[in-house]
């Protein structure tokens, strides 16, 4: 009985995996080809057609409080969504690798200081941290990407440091060291490739987190600058009309949830592949 449902389970899992990949692919295409797909410019205001319901003439998903087409904003919004996710995670990954390897290889003093700073940042609620850091830079897309990147850096740094430390004691590294290979080469040849799978999994999760942070920041009014189309901003603007025009909150909300869902799901599957015991 169990084996039977296990098969079914794999089928369902594969179905969701395909769906998630397809959705993310769709997003990527929408982001790249936004000007070709979107019916209008995302900032164009039809002042006589405000707060239209979905399926209205000319506006498939309705219009917002300034008469802007929701579908167009959704399509263009995927650009800032992907930008926030990918760039901020890349920044964090690069900085985290550098700091983590430094902390892992270097002696007690530098490593200890770095770890103290990293622990300090991590023992502080992320939302508060993001708000503090973003007030330093000012509000805007670029600033937000940078902020999220900085806030995520310690997460990577910690993983990298722990892995570096344990990998350095592994046999193949030690033998390579005994052969007199230079440290930099050991790092690029042995250490980084070996921790890559873990980092990739972490990156997908942080990608999803970045998207939620973007939405939360926009909700608090600290995110992307209007009138740039952003899903978080759409959610924020919609909350004043949540009871009169709920579709304004539901459409970007569902799109956002689906993105996070897809990323988490893909992350899950990858993790399972890498660690079959789960």
């Amino acid at each position: 009985m169990k084996t039977c449902s296990r098969k079914k389970h794999h089928k369902i899992r594969r179905f969701f995996f395909t769906l998630s990949c397809a959705y993310l692919l769709l997003l990527a295409v929408a982001a790249l080809a936004a000007p070709l797909i979107a019916p209008y410019s995302p900032t164009r205001q039809f002042l006589d057609k405000r707060l239209l319901e979905p399926c209205s003439e000319g506006h498939l998903l309705g219009s917002d409080e300034l008469g802007r087409d929701v579908l167009s904003r959704l399509i263009y919004g995927s650009r800032s969504l992907l930008a926030v996710g990918s760039i901020s995670v890349s920044i964090a990954l690069a900085a985290g690798l550098l700091l983590g390897i430094m902390a892992g290889l270097r002696g007690k003093l530098l490593g200890g200081c770095l770890m103290l700073l990293i622990d300090g940042i991590l023992s502080f609620p992320t939302v508060l941290l993001v708000i503090t850091v973003i007030s330093l830079f000012g509000y805007g897309l670029a600033q937000m990407i940078l902020t999220i990147g900085i806030v995520f850096t310690p997460v990577f740094a910690r993983i990298v440091r722990a892995e570096t430390k344990s990998l350095m004691t592994e046999g193949f590294v030690e033998s390579s060291r005994a052969l007199g290979t230079r440290r930099l080469k050991i790092v690029t040849r042995h250490i980084v490739p070996n921790m890559l799978p873990d980092l990739i999994i972490q990156a997908t999760i942080l990608f999803a987190s970045a998207i939620i942070i973007e939405a939360s920041l926009s909700f608090l009014g600290l995110g992307v600058q209007p009138p740039s189309p952003s899903w978080g901003l759409m959610l924020k603007d919609a909350r004043s009309y949540i009871f009169q025009a709920p579709h304004l909150a539901f459409i970007p909300g569902i799109a956002l949830a689906a993105t996070v869902f897809s990323l988490n799901f893909i992350g899950d599957v990858v993790a399972e592949k890498l660690n079959p015991k789960l």
């Binding site: 503090t132 608090l220 009871f243």
Partner: protein, 309 residues
């Protein structure tokens, strides 16, 4: 006992260092951010002489290092200063706000565990059954929905459509049901996976196989042996959950207009009420580190494996 004290000493030392680093960084970040509280107090239409007078009263015009030294020496005497705007003691402000946030976090955690434990255990025990799917779908969706959106959704359904719960305020326990739910469901989503993974790992261990081969009843194996061990990692996890709740409550407090610690700090950031932000940051860090320390102690107390070492 001796190891305990050594642990305590090391943790305390680390806590002081962490607090020092965090508060110093925050102190200087705040001094660099544009916007002086004096401008906020002065408001529109006040002439610049008035702004100067206010700055003199608030003491924000003095050299940054002087302010830093003064603040540091204040902290050593457990004096966190007074709010620049409402002139109340920062310690009073924080202590009056913290109980609500604590209650939210604890109750949210309670809800999360109440939802996640049965669901997670069932998912692990009856893999690929209806419960397993229910658990996985719940956790995936729960994680994908931002907590503020969930909060608004709950308000929409329970306060506007069904009118079961009040829309705002934090005076009676009834007011806290929705915020606690909003926080709890989000956490439960993560917990379900934790429980499920940890339980299925435990079920795959050798001692379970031994137990099965010895002919122990299924229930005894699952709930007495496997579950106990599976729950251990969740203790450490609870500490982290608590930290998350402290931070996440900011947004929930905002949606439900609750007077908690998060909103105190958030509005202080907006108004550049420096002493309140600094005091709040230190407080949150200390609480978070303290809880994690407690969790460590509890863990080593409960887990004989650690005690042996």
């Amino acid at each position: 006992m001796e190891t305990f004290f050594r642990l305590l000493a090391r943790k305390t030392g680390r806590l002081f260092l962490t607090v020092f680093v965090i508060s110093t960084v925050v102190f200087f970040i705040l001094r660099v951010i544009p916007g002086d509280p004096a401008y906020v107090v002065a408001g529109v239409d006040a002439p610049s002489e008035a702004v100067e007078a206010i700055r003199a009263r608030l003491g924000t015009g003095r050299p940054v290092l002087v302010q830093y030294g003064e603040w540091l020496s204040g902290i050593l005497r457990f004096d966190f200063g007074s709010s620049l705007l409402s002139e109340e003691k920062v310690s009073t402000l924080i202590l009056s706000r913290f109980p609500l946030t604590l209650l939210l976090a604890l109750a949210g955690m309670g809800i999360a565990y109440m939802l996640a434990l049965p669901l997670g255990i069932l998912s692990a025990v009856k893999r690929w059954s209806f419960w397993d799917y229910a658990g996985m779908i719940f956790s995936q969706i729960g994680m994908a929905v931002p907590s503020f959106w969930l909060a608004i959704l709950l308000l929409f359904v329970f306060s506007v459509w069904l009118r079961i719960f009040p829309l705002f305020g934090g005076d009676t326990p009834v007011h806290l049901v929705l915020p606690v739910l909003a926080m709890g469901i989000n956490r439960a989503a993560v917990l379900v996976r934790m429980v499920r993974t940890s339980m299925s790992v435990e079920l795959g261990r050798e001692y379970i196989i031994t137990a099965v081969s010895k002919g122990l009843p299924d229930k005894v194996i699952r709930y007495r042996h496997a579950l106990r061990n599976a729950l251990l990692p969740l203790i450490t996890f609870s500490g982290i959950q608590f930290g998350y709740m402290l931070g996440g409550s900011i947004i929930i407090e905002q949606v439900f207009s609750l007077p908690g610690l998060g909103r105190l700090i958030l509005s202080a950031i907006y108004q550049r009420d420096f002493p309140v932000i600094q005091g709040g940051v230190i407080f949150v860090t200390v609480v978070f580190c303290f809880v994690n320390f407690l969790v460590d102690v509890l863990y080593s107390y409960i887990n004989p494996r650690i005690r042996v070492s």
